[in-house]
């Protein structure tokens, strides 16, 4: 018999809230991060082609788009790090109360931007 059950996690049925937003974002950003890491692997592999060929990649990475992509990657990594920490707290049995869940959800969203700035400043050795 054909299974006519709705597909999980029913994003088209439930009304949107912080927990739902973080949950689906965690999945989407996880996939984006692994695609990005595949490109990072490609970038490392292209180093084997030598210094002359690397100039094209270097000029792309130094362009506005290149810098913007690195900034986006920093944010998506930051988001996943914070969201993963939130999941680990849940695994130890903490943070299930509705209000706590909402607060930690907001921390993940706003904290990801703060962490992005922090990582960028540390990376650029400004702080």
């Amino acid at each position: 018999m054909e299974n006519k059950n709705p597909l999980s996690p029913h994003i088209q049925i439930y009304s949107w809230n912080i927990s739902l937003l973080i949950s689906i974002s965690h999945r989407i950003i996880g996939v984006i991060n692994i695609v990005a890491l595949t490109f990072v692997c490609l970038w490392i592999a292209l180093l084997l082609l030598g210094e002359t060929n690397y100039e094209y990649i270097k000029s792309f990475l130094q362009s506005f788009l290149g810098k913007f992509l690195i900034l986006c990657l920093t944010w998506s990594f930051s988001f996943q790090i914070l969201s993963e920490i939130r999941h680990l707290f849940w695994d130890f049995g903490y943070g299930f109360e509705l209000i706590t869940s909402k607060i930690t959800g907001l921390i993940v969203i706003f904290g990801s931007f703060v962490l992005t700035i922090l990582i960028y400043l540390i990376g650029k050795q400004i702080i």
């Binding site: 490392i44 180093l47 100039e55 270097k58 920093t74 930051s78 790090i81 695994d91 990582i119 650029k124």
Partner: protein, 109 residues
């Protein structure tokens, strides 16, 4: 122990390993991406960078294969398609880290 429990434990252990590695890698990526070829190659040529980058790739692709197979479980109903999707995913996620480890250990200044 049932398979789902094993999968959950593998996911949690890999995420605990992944968090500090992601922090280390993204900070270093931000610091080197604009630099010259020689600087980037010398960064990846050091033993700690080779080891940590390889570990990051292995754990990240392992973690992602488990998480993406969960997504397939939730969104793909057809067993045949799900099977093919999972096999393709596992093959790709084994090959990519292997290639990058070989590249890293061949990269020298």
């Amino acid at each position: 122990m049932i398979n789902a429990t094993k999968k959950w434990i593998f996911l949690k252990v890999s995420s605990i390993i992944l968090i500090p590695l992601m922090v280390w890698f993204i900070i270093n990526l931000v610091s080197i991406y604009e630099k010259d070829y020689v600087d980037i190659v010398s960064f990846f040529s050091t033993q700690p960078s080779k080891f940590l980058t390889s570990l990051l790739m292995i754990v990240a692709f392992f973690y992602s294969s488990l998480s993406i197979s969960e997504i397939f479980e939730d969104y793909i109903h057809d067993k045949k398609i799900k099977n093919i999707a999972n096999k393709t995913l596992y093959t790709f996620f084994i090959i990519v880290p292997l290639i990058i480890i070989m590249v890293l250990f061949n990269l020298n200044i």
